[in-house]
Symmetry: C2
Subunit: 207 residues, 2 copies
């Protein structure tokens, strides 16, 4: 049976939708190829006709959607703090990051827990989507200190992003050292203030 390009696109979209629902409900470990295929009305083996990269590619496509949602959430937080001091802006974004991680717990975890089969490298297009999130931090850094070189700004943005990630990740992580949300918010308030003050000192040394 021949199927049209339009039908093919619909099958691809149905598979991603279905994987998205499964990941949101039960996390990566709950992802089931058989039920993905059944939801899309195809045979399990023919999933590879639609996704050359198999299940890994399906997961990357879901993670892309998650990154897009996270990106919008950070953009909203940045907009809300528009015109405020940089400490307030950082805090607004950090708290948005925390609440995204709480609200979309399993999807957020999938971003960091997914491992490609056979140790294959993550495709470049997907890495770029991750890196692109750092621009929310790069922009205020550029405004704060126009003398900062591009490479230095990138490293700094990534460092700040990773710090906030570490606080959210360790604070929320399972039962290891899970903290109440207000305590994590307090931590984020402290670190963003400390970072903003430290960055001013750093900028002053450069200029």
């Amino acid at each position: 049976m021949r199927i049209s390009n339009e039908e093919k696109e619909q099958i691809v979209a149905r598979i991603i939708d279905s994987a998205e629902r499964q990941i949101a409900a039960t996390g990566l470990s709950g992802l089931n190829l058989r039920s993905l295929a059944s939801d899309a009305g195809i045979k399990p083996a023919s999933l590879y006709n639609h996704f050359k990269g198999g299940l890994d590619e399906v997961i990357l496509r879901v993670n892309s959607r998650t990154i897009k949602m996270l990106d919008q959430s950070l953009a909203r937080a940045a907009k809300k703090a528009d015109g405020e001091p940089v400490a307030v802006l950082f805090d607004s974004m950090a708290v948005a990051y925390l609440h995204f991680a709480i609200k979309h717990e399993k999807r957020f975890a999938a971003l960091f827990e997914h491992r490609m089969a056979n140790d294959a490298p993550i495709p470049e297009w997907h890495l770029q989507e991750h890196y692109n999130l750092f621009r929310h931090v790069e922009r205020p850094l550029a405004a704060m200190n126009p003398n900062l070189g591009e490479d230095e700004r990138r490293i700094l943005a990534r460092t700040i992003y990773s710090s906030v990630h570490g606080i959210v990740h360790l604070g929320r992580q399972g039962r290891l050292i899970a903290l109440p949300v207000p305590v994590i918010e307090q931590q984020l308030g402290v670190i963003t203030q400390v970072l903003a003050d430290g960055l001013s000192a750093f900028a002053a040394k450069l200029s």
Copy 2:
């Protein structure tokens, strides 16, 4: 057959030694109850006679050893930077943390990836071992600013620890956004300087 307390202790030690080797070689996912029992010369089912908490308890005991090693490594780094400015001290410990994570990759990962069976809580004694690591950061904070309240100092130490952890974790994490070691070291150098400068400003406001 009756076995003496001494023999019992030897069996317990052999099981932990064997689990330690397995985790160091292949990570948590490589842990195999059958081969643990065989290494210790007991039947798989009788592992529960020696560890009431089963495999979880064995893993916690291995993680305790890893924490002790990490603790010694941080203590050495702190000692090496004794008398230096706080930024140098933080950097020394952050770089030690990074290199511990690299050298003992699978053991380090096991500290953060272990999930108790049936969502049981992590026992308090083990949580305390984790928390105890934060004292390496608390001590210089107390010296920097004696006006800092105990709670505030704890939150701050934990925040700094988590930030460094985030940078090491995201920087090293698999193929997601793995960075070359010198770049991570550069990130740690920046964040520790920024944190130290920011903390001085923070301390000045309090005093």
